[in-house]
C-alpha cells in the first residue's frame, strides 16, 4: 500500500486509515448528508469491514460506524495515511 497516495474512499481496503480532503458530490442533498454524517474535509476515516457482497463498506468516522455504498464513497477524495489491519 503506497502511503500518501491520492485516491477515493472507495479505493481503500479494510484496515486503512484515510484523511478526507474533498467531498465532491454533484447532488447537494447527498453532499449535505455525507457532511452531516461526519465525512468532512480534514476528517479521518478508519475503513472497517466490507459486506460479503463487497458493498456497502463500514467506515468509522467521528466515533460512529457508518456504512456507505460505493456510489457514495466514490465522491470522497483524500489520501490513505496508514494501514493497521
Amino acid at each position: 500500500m503506497a502511503q500518501g497516495k491520492r485516491c477515493r474512499l472507495s479505493d481503500t481496503k479494510p484496515g486503512d486509515r484515510f484523511r478526507i480532503e474533498k467531498v465532491d458530490v454533484p447532488d447537494p442533498v447527498l453532499k449535505r448528508r455525507l457532511l452531516d454524517l461526519g465525512f468532512v474535509p480534514g476528517g479521518e476515516v478508519k475503513v472497517g469491514q466490507r459486506s460479503p457482497l463487497g458493498d456497502p463498506t463500514a467506515y468509522r468516522v467521528c466515533g460512529t460506524t457508518i456504512a456507505l455504498r460505493k456510489e457514495e464513497s466514490d465522491y470522497i477524495y483524500g489520501e490513505t495515511i496508514d494501514h493497521d489491519g
Binding site: 447537494p28 442533498v29 449535505r32 448528508r33 452531516d36 461526519g38 467521528c62 466515533g63 460512529t64
Partner: protein
Amino acid sequence: MMDKTYTVALMGNPNTGKSTLFNVLTGLRQHTGNWPGKTVTHAEGECRHRGTLYRIVDLPGTYSLYSNSADEEVARDFLLFQRPDVTIVVVDATALERNLNLALQVLEMTDRVIIAINLMDEAKKKGIHINTKKLAAKLGVPVVPISARNREGIDALLDTVDAMAHGRINTNPLSIRYSPEIERGIAKLLPLVKDVMGDTYPARWIALRLLDGDTSLLQALKQPPQPLIKEGNAYACCGSVKSV
C-alpha cells in the same frame, strides 16, 4: 387561575439518550432502545418542577436538520412552527465533535437552547474530561452535564429549564459567519424575509436555507400547521429565491 404550561423540546443525534431523559423527566415508560431511528414521530409527556408544568416533547434523533429525511423534517418543523419555550439539545459526551453539528444548527434557529451533555459517566470511564463552563461560554447558551440513566444532573437541568422558561437567562448563541459571498446573500435576503415572514421566524436562518435551495423548507412554509404567513406575500418570497 391556570398557570402557563411551557413546552420543552428534546433534540439530539440518534442514540444519545433523549428517550431515556424523556422517561426520567416524565416518568413515562416510553420504550427506549439501542438502535437509531427509533423515535419516528414525537412522543409527549408532562413534568412538574418547582410548581411549573412542562410539556416535554421527544423529537426524532437526527444528525442534522437539513438532509430532508422525514425525521429531520419533523424535528425542524416542530422548532419552526411550535416554537418551544426551551429546546434541550442532548449531546453524547463521548462524541462531542459529531454531536455539536446539530447543536450549532439548532442555535441558528433559536436562542432558547440548553445543551445537556449526556453519558457523562461513560465519558469519565473513557478518560474524557469536558470543560462545560468553557463550552457554555463558546456556545453562548447554558451547558449542563447529566447522566440520564443514573438520574444525575437532572435537577440542575430542570432548574436551568425553569430559569430559561421564566426569562431569567439571557443567551447569546454563537452566530456562525459564512464566506463573504454567502454573507452578502444573507444581507440581501434578510429584509425581504423579514418583510414577508415578520418577526415570528428566525430570519437569518431562513435566508440561509433559501440560499441553500431548501425546497423542503419552502413547502413547509407554504403550508404551515397554523396560518403564520402573511397572506399574499408567500409567493413573492418563494419567487425571489433563485434570483438572489
